[in-house]
Symmetry: C2
Subunit: 319 residues, 2 copies
Amino acid sequence: MANIRDVAKQAGVSVTTVSRVLNDHPYVTEEKRLAVEKAMEELGYYQNINAIHLSKGETRLIGVAVPFINHSYFSTLLNGIADQALVRDYNLVFYQTNYQEQEERKALEALKRKQVDGLLILSRASGWEAVDEYQEFGPIVVCESSNHTRIPCVSVDHYEAFRFGMRYMIQKGHRHIGYCIGRMNGTNSNLREMAYCEELEFIEEPYRKDWVFNNCLTIEDGKRVANEYMSLEERPSALLITSDQVAAGFRMEAEKQGIRVPADVAILGFDNHPIAEALDLTTIELPLHEVGMSLVEKVSSKNPTSAIYPFELVERGSV
Amino acid sequence: MANIRDVAKQAGVSVTTVSRVLNDHPYVTEEKRLAVEKAMEELGYYQNINAIHLSKGETRLIGVAVPFINHSYFSTLLNGIADQALVRDYNLVFYQTNYQEQEERKALEALKRKQVDGLLILSRASGWEAVDEYQEFGPIVVCESSNHTRIPCVSVDHYEAFRFGMRYMIQKGHRHIGYCIGRMNGTNSNLREMAYCEELEFIEEPYRKDWVFNNCLTIEDGKRVANEYMSLEERPSALLITSDQVAAGFRMEAEKQGIRVPADVAILGFDNHPIAEALDLTTIELPLHEVGMSLVEKVSSKNPTSAIYPFELVERGSV
DNA sequence: TTGTATGCGTTATCAT
DNA sequence: ATGATAACGCATACAA
């Protein structure tokens, strides 16, 4: 592979001049520029990007740590991230963490070792301290409802969204309300739990453990919940469900088994994924594509700030 | 940022020795190793990965060009790719091309400029020549049914899968068969078209342009097709549909409008996505996760070969 | 077992 | 307007 020195020699100029034409710098005569271009052509020259990275100390790469990709919540975020990265001329390197701290650490190390200029964490298993520890090595933005003052977060306010959903159900006359959650111990899940408990307290209803369904991420999980729901002695009349995917699985399975939505049980999803419209699911729309774009904006600034995006109720026929 | 020379000086050894302990090379006394480790600790040293890349001439990065990510076909492939990349200690850089030749070119250029050691193309708008042109710069594997002898392909045999689907419908007594396609001019779409025409000829039925539905990628597209279907003067009794997503949209909308599946129209999806089970969709299962893993295996070998993965009929209640 | 010197390919500083 | 030279940080052939 021909390098910049070969080109310089071939063109009868210095490497500096070659570098100048490469980077469209001023102060190079048309004559020399042509000579350089001719030499590049002849030698089949192209720049080695690693050398540029080393020399410049930046890679125009943004790392994205995501638990798994084949999940509409994350892939929608990623779509927004990719769109904005394109605009800002960044490329993306992708770390599938599967909620393993060890894999999240790899992404953080990549930032430290200058593989990427910044890091986006879409969800995490590691504690805040682990993340905080790496902030000195470059901008990090987390996609979570912010309650950490030192780490920039861009997200929807999951706490408020969930509380809004609860109040909506209450206003519709429901008092026996259950809910589904993605995984225990996630930040967003904790916020939902908190909102749930507070609203329950508000209407003076007890917390019933068997009305809380854990590990709900996929359509299949929704089906599973439907079956668990049916085997309940006492059933809630309303359910707030992790996502539209899970809500869809729930609705399809429940109706197959003769449960009527919303007559027997009202359900509310989150995201406003196309599947929600197809299944006539009332849902709380989260602007995930926008959040994704915002994440890239934030991480590409020297001092990222936090931002919270609004949600919106989309009323359909499941409540 | 402390570099390897600083560590060497601090430890009172040469850079070579430091490099040796960094890379677990033999021939370094325990004493010096300790001194080096101590120095690294004191200076807060860590390796700069770009320097390693430049020096070694490899990045352990694999590029993945994908039209868009928020689509279950691609995100399932990507999930397999990421899983296998993890095993083989590769990271992934992600190029969202949106079927723009210009963006695909960027991914190819990244290979040429040594940003990535190999490139995976999940689907493309560019011609074979454009891809072929870059093969000299590193391994490229395309996720398509192979008919190009020079470019390695790993995929499901979409032609055979579609033909199999046609024969299945025919065997079920259908003679008026239509189909949905993702986009015209895609390799896989062309193969499906070919299989469709051949089987039509086989049963001596005419090709009816209004029974072929283009641009079908999402649930919404399925709904649209259902409406187009209903406005048809003469309707086919069976439909082969791009993917389970589209088939799901079709079924939901059609049934909402009083069309019975499979009594009025039999439908067959592809992929065996969870939504297919939820909606009782007969489908042709494609081992996309495996294909994804295989893509990484192939691209990480010096001379990638092609491979075709088998499909499997999953009979449910939509045919 | 250890160190010296050179290569990797580019950008940036500074002098001219 | 142009060029010599020093970074950038690491790996490695070769010598010792």
